[in-house]
């Protein structure tokens, strides 16, 4: 045996500063925000931010951790939303939390099936096969009217958010429901990526052959990643429809949305949980900043069409800039900034 010092085992956990930060964030989100928030803050910023963060978190498990590219995120959001709508319509006895979990499971099952091509396809080709899921789900939702309760326009109102007899129908209530769901699922994702299963995700992503040799069940791992990711993305879809839009309609879940979620993951940082939140924050706040900026610069000449275009240009530019300058995303920028602040110059 080689001479060694006895293994001193520093704790595996992350530095406790992160934990303190997380607790502060939760205190802020649950304690302070509901006291001072306005309905504009909840409806235009926080609730969509939470729903998009959750969707990006789900996609990041699949793409960032397990390395399987998907362009079908909004299809799974749609499945979750429509499953929840139909469950609450046809089985109104179910409490909302149960409906949420069941909707997630419907989406997870679809994810499992959508993941089957991943056993043979990789990268670009896999992405194209997930694109097929996107179009297929859109077709199904249009084709079968009963999914939208035979509404002529295909647009249906989301049921009120009532949990244990308490109504969360106002802006703040919907924010609090979203916050709770997102917090619980983030905890779930955090436990997952720290578990041996999470390790296997990364192993499959980084070197599939080596993973197979050490005994990772590659096919099972990929399908599990698809299912768990779709579970979370499906529930994000419920939040998007029930808590944010308050309507359920296929147009809310088009291909643009899938790309938006992928961009959030890329800008925020692949393979990190925080990245989903940072990226979603930027995506939600960006149009608001742009509209203020545009109105200040251009005055009346700045209409919604110009805003829409400016938004797309800014987003495209950001993505190119991140891919070239910082492929690890906002998380890497943040970490560097924190290190710089902590280290005395």
């Amino acid at each position: 045996m080689a001479t060694t010092s006895s293994p001193v085992a520093p704790p595996l956990r992350r530095p406790s500063a992160n934990r303190v930060g997380l607790v502060l964030l939760l205190v802020l989100a649950y304690g302070l925000v509901p006291l001072v928030g306005t309905s504009y803050l909840y409806e235009a910023i926080l609730t969509p931010f939470l729903a998009l963060s959750l969707a990006a978190l789900g996609l990041n498990l699949l793409t960032g951790y397990a390395g399987q590219l998907s362009l079908g995120s909004s299809a799974f959001m749609a499945l979750g939303a429509y499953a929840a709508f139909n469950l609450s319509l046809r089985l109104p006895v179910l409490p909302l939390p149960v409906t949420l979990v069941l909707a997630g499971l419907v989406s997870a099952l679809a994810g499992l099936i959508a993941g089957l091509p991943a056993l043979r396809l990789r990268g670009f080709y896999l992405a194209v096969s997930t694109l097929a899921v996107q179009f297929f789900v859109a077709w199904v939702l249009n084709r079968f009217g009963w999914l939208s309760n035979d509404s002529p326009s295909g647009v249906v109102s989301a049921p009120p958010l009532v949990i244990a007899g308490l109504s969360f129908e106002d802006a703040r209530g919907r924010y609090l429901v979203s916050l709770t769901v997102v917090s619980l699922l983030t905890l779930f994702a955090w436990r997952l990526v720290a578990s041996p299963t999470g390790r296997s995700f990364v192993a499959v992503r980084d070197n599939e052959t080596a993973a197979r040799v050490i005994g990772v069940e590659v096919a099972r791992t990929k399908l599990l990643a698809f299912a768990l990711s779709s579970f979370i993305v499906g529930i994000a879809g419920v939040l998007w429809a029930f808590a944010y839009l308050r309507t359920v309609e296929p147009a809310g879940f088009n291909l643009d949305r899938s790309f938006q979620i992928l961009f959030i993951v890329i800008i925020g940082g692949l393979g990190t949980l925080r990245g989903a939140f940072l990226g979603a924050g930027l995506i939600v706040v960006l149009p608001l900043l742009l509209s203020r900026l545009g109105a200040a610069l251009l005055g009346d000449g700045f209409d919604s069409g110009t805003l829409e275009m400016g938004q797309r240009i800014a987003l495209g530019g950001l993505i190119v800039a991140f891919l070239i300058r910082e492929p690890a995303g906002l998380v890497a920028l943040l970490d560097r900034a924190v290190r710089r602040v902590r280290r005395p110059a």
Partner: protein
């Protein structure tokens, strides 16, 4: 002599090219067996066939008591076989500790829910695996880098991490594809020490591919020489070194290259 690994008349071709031509290899339990030969002789192909990454066109491979025409890679770890790769095959996004713990994935029995909710069975298992990983990390002098991402380490250290990932499973058969490629003489010596220690501590049977003749001669009990996919010699280092066919095919060439 009862062979722990027996490769019997294995042939393998890629299109028209012959990689292995009816190759035999017999490795006794607890032996360190080197496979040498010029570039393109079929050494890595042989290791890939033994680990099931390649399917031989003919012939059988017996590991312990199980014979295969194609070794099932999925079951490799269960069979007690671990390997390293010629060009590092690490998980660059995992820390060294996580990488080594991943080497125990085939022993994982706690289910997903148990892992996520931190049930006692999963916690106990995680602790056991962690202790085993820590022990291997310490024995390969990797404690200083245990929390670093594997992909950020110097090449020689990455080679050691890969060995640690293989050793943590306490394999009965360890396949090493050029474990010392690109290392300095000092690093090679250390690596030889780790490989010997692995055999002493767990009686592992080891097959290794190596180019450095000095290392091969001092480390291995027996040597098999391949050339153009065929086995041209097999025996103790001294026997092989004296074999005229080997001198012609390999050693002479190697010495020429060094002289040049």
């Amino acid at each position: 002599m009862n062979a722990f690994l027996a490769v019997d008349a294995v042939s393998l071709g890629f299109g028209g090219a012959v990689a292995l031509d009816s190759v035999d290899l017999s490795v006794a339990k607890g032996e360190i067996h080197a496979v040498i030969g010029p570039n393109g002789a079929g050494k890595s192909s042989l290791l890939n066939a033994i680990s099931g990454l390649y399917r031989p066109d003919s012939g059988t491979i017996r590991i312990a008591d199980d014979g295969f025409s194609r070794v099932p890679t999925k079951r490799l770890a269960e069979l007690g076989v671990a390997r390293t790769f010629q060009n590092l095959a690490l998980f660059k996004g995992l820390s060294v500790l996580d990488t080594v713990m991943a080497g125990l994935v085939h022993r994982q029995s706690a289910g997903l829910a148990a892992q996520i909710f931190g049930l006692p069975a999963a916690r106990r298992e995680a602790r056991e695996h962690r202790e085993r990983a820590e022990a291997v990390i310490a024995s390969l002098d990797l404690a200083d880098v245990r929390d670093r991402l594997a992909g950020t380490l110097p090449y020689g250290v990455q080679k050691r991490v890969e060995l640690a990932r293989a050793l943590v499973a306490r394999p009965r058969l360890l396949l090493l594809d050029e474990p010392m490629a690109g290392m300095t003489a000092t690093e090679k010596q250390r690596m030889s020490g780790y490989i010997r220690a692995a055999r002493v501590s767990s009686g592992t049977t080891i097959v290794l591919i190596e180019h450095d003749i000095g290392v091969v001669m001092s480390l291995s009990d027996r040597v098999t020489v391949l050339d153009h996919g065929r086995r041209i010699a097999s025996g103790t280092p001294a026997e092989v070194q004296a074999d005229p066919a080997v001198l012609a095919a390999y050693l002479g060439l190697a010495f020429d290259e060094e002289a040049a």
